[in-house]
Amino acid sequence: MIVGEQKPLEEIWEMVKVHKQLTVFGCNTCVAVCHQGGNKEAGILASLLRMKATQEEVDIEIVDSGIERQCEHEFFESVRDLMNRSEAVLSLACGIGVQFVATKYQTLPVYPALNTTFLGDVIAVGHFTEKCQACGDCVLGLTGGVCPVSRCCKRLMNGPCGGSSNGKCEISKEIDCAWQLIVDRLEALGRLDDYEKIPPLKDWSKDRAGGPRSFKLEDM
């Protein structure tokens, strides 16, 4: 899923304080799982902003709302009227949702309440870790199901580098060495011979190097 983190309140306030009306708008799918951008968080953030407005003696009407997903047209049906009377939107969606709102409502200012941080999983309650970089050319079949692109700090296709120590990365003791994990996993699978193979060069044109990506189902 997409993981995001709320921006500091001050940064958000500086963006939105010029408006007379603001809709604080949650997105109740990915970023709700990480408790940063769901409809519930939209309500809390709206309250904090109202308090801020009172403190700073700024006259701004703040309402909160939300939908299931800000990245698909159909979910916006239920908020048509709200969007029409909003002067500005503070979106708690990931960057995709923010842009979807911006494209859908050409004259409506929209601001991001979150920093979209990574594609990750939930390894424990409240603990999210990056697992995919959407590089467009998955190598997990070669690496025992552990991704060197998103999890090795140097994106090495032939690791581990000389900085791997006690299973940890040279840049932080908090980060597992992806290549230690790959070697361990290949060993567990009885596929250590795969380590000896030198994989072909990574085709970054399938990553962002090739410009914005898209695909279209021909039968829909």
Binding site: K154, M157, N158, G159, G162, S164, Q180, I198
Partner: protein
């Protein structure tokens, strides 16, 4: 390895190694500015005392004069550079362009490295490139040399003929896989290997034993990395702060055991004892001396290590 007379490059280091002589290489860090004289001065201490000198490439991810530029100054001073290139700072286009340019202006050796992570340096907010990795860089330099083709497959007019080096850290984890990664570097096309600074001799002996057993030392020249300790503080720093470094307590204790004024000499003594052992060690073909900001001591160390005079070829 058996002696050979067929050369893949015009490198002096290649001639030394292929003649079966024990190689001795040095290291020179480019300045953090444009002072050519600083490079020249360091180079003068190394000239005649080493077969080739590694010119580091933004070492520890700190910006310095580019390694190819400092390599050219070294050439001007009569030294043979070993041009270091890290994957952190260049994509595949820049790499190939710099290899062409470096060769065109006289560079004949290259050391292919991943590079320390940018977080360690003076621009921790930089984007690390890592378009290809060090093993793929080795294969790239080999392809340019032996097939005369760019990565794209397009033909190179007058291909660069580099003697290809790679690094190996016998002390990183997982230990049992270091020899396999060495094997991959050889398969990719490395002609010679320079190891990480060695302090843990028992572990290094085991690494070389495994490399011998796998037949790797018959396929590649291995130069043991040696860095003399200047002080107890340096030894402690290396032991705790430098990624991938293994400094046993007994090294620190030995330095602590002598008078303060004699610690540096004791560091050199330890280094020279290591070099003596490497000369006799099967599978080790030379020493890479990394006298960091201690270039002026290289003549004395080379003398004490009895590696002089260095071979000269016509």
């Amino acid at each position: 390895m058996s002696t050979e007379t067929k050369y893949s490059s015009g490198s002096n280091l290649e001639k030394v190694l292929k003649s079966g002589q024990f190689a001795f290489t040095g290291e020179l860090g480019p300045p953090r500015g444009t002072d050519v004289d600083e490079v020249r001065e360091k180079a003068r201490f190394l000239k005649g005392h080493v077969d080739s000198v590694n010119i580091t490439d933004n070492q520890t991810a700190v910006v310095r004069m580019s390694s190819w530029a400092a390599s050219l100054i070294a050439i001007d001073e009569g030294l043979e550079p070993n041009y270091q290139m890290v994957c952190r700072d260049r994509n595949r286009l820049a790499m190939q362009a710099d290899i062409l340019g470096g060769y065109a202006l006289g560079i004949r050796n290259m050391l292919c490295l991943s590079g320390d992570h940018q977080q360690f340096g003076d621009h921790p907010d930089a984007k690390g490139v890592f378009d290809i990795d060090s093993i793929q860089l080795i294969a790239l330099v080999k392809q340019m040399r032996d097939e005369g083709r760019f990565l794209s497959g397009n033909e190179i007019h007058k291909p660069p003929k580099m003697f290809i080096g790679a690094a190996s850290n016998p002390f990183a984890d997982p230990f049992e896989w270091r020899v396999h990664r060495l094997a991959k570097k050889i398969e990719a096309g490395a002609d010679f290997i320079q190891t990480q600074c060695i302090y843990n001799m028992p572990k290094f002996r085991e690494f070389i034993r495994l490399a011998n057993e796998e037949g790797l030392t018959e396929k590649v020249y291995i130069l043991g990395g040696v860095t003399p300790m200047k002080s107890v503080g340096m030894a402690r720093y290396m032991a705790t702060k430098v990624p991938g470094m293994d400094v046993p307590e007994e090294i620190i204790n030995r330095l602590k055991g002598v008078e303060k004024s004699k610690v540096a000499q004791e560091g050199i003594n330890i280094a020279c004892e290591q070099i003596e052992e490497f000369k006799a060690m099967k599978g080790v073909h030379g020493v890479h001396l990394m006298a960091i900001e201690w270039e002026h001591m290289v003549p004395q160390i080379a003398e004490q290590a009895k590696v002089l005079p260095r071979p000269v070829f016509d």
